[in-house]
């Protein structure tokens, strides 16, 4: 029971491809973001963001290719003879940039207007109920402007999905061929597409890459907190004592010892003289 490509809603198709492609690429991008963060580079702005976006390109092309082929094969029974990942990536990216650009202005405009309208409505409510409590006011105001903004954002997302779905359908129409395999064989096909030809090589190289990434993480991870508490007094680190000259120290000790012995001797002398004089003092 395979639905024909023409009858599958394009939004559904776009969602199936982009959702799984997102999660397929996400862990790899996260590794890069984590490394940047550990190195003290903010991955959400400036050079960090550019690095992250650059790394994302091959990851996204690979992820889109893998997941789109799976969706085509499993749900639509189609084999595609085209660079699926690259085609979908640039089309999705162009559309994404377009829709994201429009969304930025549309949503931020809607937020401004929404907040003003919500504040106006709250003002009206306050005229009727002068003791409208603050906690309720916050929630009502929040709902008043977030509901329309959320709907707008969802609509924009749907527009992107619809457009992306059209791209996918065009790709299918131009280079898709109906697979003759049964449902079971198709499941097997896309499943095997994930198994590399040389299993041992793949696992070893992946493992080695992960070990290298981990070591890089250890090298950049700060040893002490990057955000110390303003009032925390670090204990004064005991500076390495200046290398002492044992000869000097020894001479000093010997001198003082000689003095001590002289004092002791004189004390003992005095004591013995004293004890000789009054021989039986106690009794």
């Amino acid at each position: 029971m395979t639905p024909s490509p023409e009858k599958t809603p394009s939004v559904k198709l776009a969602w199936a491809v982009s959702w799984s492609a997102f999660w397929t690429g996400f862990p790899l991008k996260l590794i890069v973001a984590l490394l940047l963060l550990a190195a003290g580079i903010n991955p959400w702005e400036g050079g960090g963001l550019i690095a992250l976006l650059l790394v994302s390109i091959p990851i996204d092309i690979w992820a889109l290719g893998l997941t789109a082929r799976t969706v085509f094969l499993e749900r639509l029974g189609l084999d595609i003879d085209a660079p699926v990942g690259f085609t979908l990536w640039w089309q999705g990216a162009v559309l994404g940039g377009l829709v994201l650009g429009i969304s930025y202005y549309a949503v931020s405009g809607a937020v401004d207007v929404g907040k003003k309208v919500a504040a106006g409505i709250i003002g009206l409510i306050k005229k009727v109920f002068p003791h409208f409590p603050i906690a309720e006011q916050i929630t009502v105001e929040l709902l008043l402007w977030t509901i329309p903004v959320t709907i707008l954002a969802l609509v924009l997302l749907l527009i992107w999905l619809k457009l992306f779905g059209w791209c996918i359908k065009r790709l299918i129409a131009s280079s898709g061929t109906t697979s003759s395999a049964s449902y079971f064989e198709r499941v097997r096909q896309w499943d095997s597409a994930r198994v590399p030809d040389d299993v041992g090589l793949m696992i070893t190289s992946f493992g080695a890459a992960m070990v290298l990434v981990t070591i890089a993480f250890w090298m950049v991870l700060p040893v002490t907190t990057p955000h110390p508490h303003q009032d925390y007094q670090m204990p004064e680190v005991s500076k390495p004592a200046k290398p002492m000259k044992p000869e000097d120290a020894l001479k000093k000790t010997e001198n003082s010892l000689a003095k001590a012995e002289a004092i002791l001797a004189s004390l003992e002398d005095a004591k013995s003289k004293e004890s000789k004089k009054p021989e039986r003092k106690g009794k």
């Binding site: 992960m210 005991s238 003082s256």
Partner: protein, 314 residues
């Protein structure tokens, strides 16, 4: 046709076709999704064949009647053990409660997706690798974390422990206790420590310095202090070099006045030499300084117990 749901053919019962008996039921095959019997395995002339339950006309205690002729039986697929899993080899809840097959076995089809060997090897290998790697980023930070206080730099501070005037006689052990205050993680603590000081006679001094001056170093090997035989006072660490107990100055029945450790009965003479007992090395001498007024100062060095040679640890 009979109701197939919940059918429970008896193992070993005779299987009859429309035209006579052909063999017996040896095992049953179940559907892992519905937990119902899907096939019976019929053993006929030494070969086992899978017969779908739809073919069964009726079944009672001893016989299973099939709705086909004996000539049709060879058309049923042969039962290949490798294509199936026994209920002992998989975990399917309630399967064995629903279907009884002793003395035979219940079989379920081997999942098609698990048949590809390369695939299984790949996912098994990958899973094992990830399982090993998942905690890997923690290894170094955790090691450093637990090691933080373990290799603290040596404390080379001098402690005033008392005055030589306390020592009235040569060659006897005199205990000096002092309060040592230090930072112990977040706590500022004070501990009672104890050392022994001996005013050595020339003979004892000669014995102690028989290998020359005694040098003390810090963790990187820099010389911190040198004790010389010109100083007649010798301080011993209060820690027994055997296993770290606190020893005493006691009189011994045959050996006279000695240092005696109550834990394992190590006995040392006034020069710290082992006279008897399990101790592996003489008492540990500490760096000592005597001020003109006779104030004794020592560095409270700690050595590892139980070793032949001295290993400084604090």
């Amino acid at each position: 046709m009979m109701e197939h749901m919940g059918l429970q053919p008896k193992i070993k019962s005779t299987v009859r076709c429309l035209d006579g008996p052909i063999g017996e039921v040896s095992h049953v095959i179940a559907d892992p999704l519905t937990l119902e019997v899907s096939h019976i395995v019929v053993k006929s002339n030494g070969t086992e064949r899978q017969v779908p339950v739809e073919t069964i006309r009726s079944a009672d205690e001893n016989t299973v009647e099939l709705s086909c002729k004996s000539a049709q039986v060879p058309e049923f697929p042969a039962f290949v053990r490798a294509d199936f899993l026994s209920s002992k080899e998989v975990e399917i809840p309630h399967l064995e409660d629903r279907i009884h097959a002793e003395p035979g076995e219940i079989f379920v089809p081997f999942p098609e997706l698990e048949r590809s060997c390369a695939r299984r090897t790949f996912f098994t290998g990958f899973t094992t690798l990830m399982g090993v790697l998942i905690g890997f980023p923690f290894v170094w930070p955790v090691l450093q974390y637990v090691m933080k206080p373990m290799y603290a730099p040596f404390d080379n501070r001098w402690w005033k422990i008392g005055n030589t005037s306390k020592i009235k006689q040569e060659d006897i052990g005199v205990q000096f206790t002092f309060k040592k205050s230090f930072r112990d993680s977040v706590l500022q603590r004070e501990e009672d420590k104890n050392n022994w000081v001996v005013k050595a006679s020339p003979a004892t001094l000669k014995q102690i310095y028989q290998h020359g001056d005694i040098t003390f170093t810090d963790n990187v090997g820099n010389v911190v202090w040198v004790n010389r035989a010109t100083v007649p006072y010798v301080a011993y660490s209060g820690k027994c070099p055997h296993l770290g107990c606190g020893y005493k100055w006691r009189s011994h029945k045959t050996r006279g006045q000695v240092f005696l450790c109550p834990c394992h009965l190590s006995i040392y003479d006034v020069a710290g030499t082992v006279l008897d007992g399990p101790a592996p090395r003489p008492l540990d001498v500490l760096p000592i300084k005597i001020s003109p007024a006779g104030e004794i100062e020592v560095i409270d060095i700690e050595f590892k117990a139980g070793k032949r040679e001295q290993v400084r640890i604090a």
